[in-house]
Symmetry: C2
């Protein structure tokens, strides 16, 4: 496979690409191992806003894949780091699940829960997937934004597929905040925003053109990769389950992958040829 031969680095989305729910796709560990043996730099970029990086690393461990924490870029952690880089210790209200709150604390932010209708003056509001959502929490975020806090959306996914169906994603809450305040997010960290991928590329010192982005979602993974001028590979295991390569011709060019594969296992088969 010429594309894989040519690139120096490969960025992988996680859910729907390496694993489904908490179940690794059988054979994935071997594929990653062999790509590394061929000298490819691997990185992992996930829109996850409700899971902390530590939880993601646990899944890798259960899969038997040896991963350095520095190779993993989780939107929840990157959002916290983005804020901390601009304003160390910033007062930050977190509309999101405990995993996002944990990342805010780890990044050294003065993190606050959104459990009050009377927020103090804050510098940032982070909006992620919030499994603990209440009316009070939504009101807190609204009032903090209205009082002038900056608006950081961890991602803008409308929904998130879970084992028994769809759940509201970070984007559903970000859309509600935008409708209430008349303000778009000051930054969207996750895909199809490019910040997450740029942080990964910067860390490993490769240019976008030297790397491929492998994902299961044309609207986020492929769009973000294309926007940066990366090579893009769509796999049909997750959000694009049931899709065929022919379908690529019917989607807008910005979401169209350079290559479509059944799964990440095909990276390996091709590499072995």
């Amino acid at each position: 496979m010429r594309l894989i031969d040519e690139v120096k680095g490969i960025l992988f989305d996680l859910d729907g690409v390496l694993w489904l729910g908490d179940q690794a796709i059988p054979g994935v560990a071997g594929v990653l191992h062999r790509l590394r043996a061929r000298g490819k730099k691997l990185m992992f970029v996930s829109n996850t806003s409700s899971r902390s990086k530590a939880k993601c690393l646990q899944v890798f461990e259960r899969m038997g894949v040896d991963v350095d924490p520095d190779e993993v870029f989780i939107a929840s952690e990157c959002a916290a780091r983005y804020i901390a880089a601009r304003k160390p210790g910033a007062v930050t209200y977190v509309l999101g699940s405990p995993g996002l709150f944990d990342e805010a604390v780890l990044a050294g932010l003065d993190a606050r829960t959104t459990s009050t209708k009377h927020p103090e003056q804050a510098e940032y509001v982070m909006v992620g997937k919030d499994n603990d959502l209440t009316f009070t929490r939504l009101t807190c975020a609204l009032r903090a934004l209205k009082a002038g806090a900056k608006f950081v959306a961890v991602n803008c996914d409308p929904t998130v597929p879970v084992a028994d169906g769809l759940e509201p994603g970070a984007g559903a809450l970000a859309a509600a905040m935008t409708f209430m305040t008349g303000r778009e997010p000051d930054v969207v960290v996750g895909k199809p925003g490019t910040l997450l991928l740029e942080m990964a590329l910067e860390r490993c010192g490769l240019t976008p053109a030297e790397c491929a982005m492998v994902g299961d979602t044309p609207e986020s993974d492929v769009a973000a990769g294309n926007a940066l001028g990366m090579h893009t590979i769509l796999v049909l295991t997750g959000n694009s389950d049931g899709r065929t390569a022919d379908d690529d011709l019917n989607i807008p060019a910005v979401m169209r992958p350079e290559l479509t594969l059944q799964s990440v296992l095909d990276l390996d088969l091709a590499a072995a040829n």
Copy 2:
């Protein structure tokens, strides 16, 4: 005041026009009484999605204003009646406060709370201001809509002013549902939609041109009245507090009132001349 002399009916918004919070604007009872004595048909049209009609009637009673329940059109009640008129007893999930649930029951709908992530097949989802919001409730509404239920937004107000600040309105949740499902509401009952006003006009048998709409919000009250070809009067007591008549020139024509008054008390003063 020629305009008031000419009209046969007057539709009043409630919050910000007749009362502020739970406090009647002093003198309002007398104004309404004298307008009726002059033969004007009075009706009351409120976007309220979290308060039941019974609660609104209690406020009128405390104000000392004698009002027939048939003269009051509350978006929560009208949304329930709208559904019941199309599908009596329809299975309807209610994403909203208890007042909205009460109206669904009163209209004879098979009302369901959104307290499960596994909704049954439903015909309608009603979305109002939900002071009891949780992640489970939002997920329930998402899944019911995804499974094919019709989407009725009680109103599309982004926020609602309360005593100590802003709270998320019905429109914030409707915007989240639209972002998650890719579907606009099948109907928006409240202003600036015209359904609420049309129901009031139909009940009293007057044409739009024979009536004036009196409200405090250009974007909803005035826009709805103008859309129907009613006379429109803006009062500066509620959402337009601090506004001046000159400001009218700077807003789009669809939201521009025919007449701007300091408060509803000016209707009376003018009528007395």
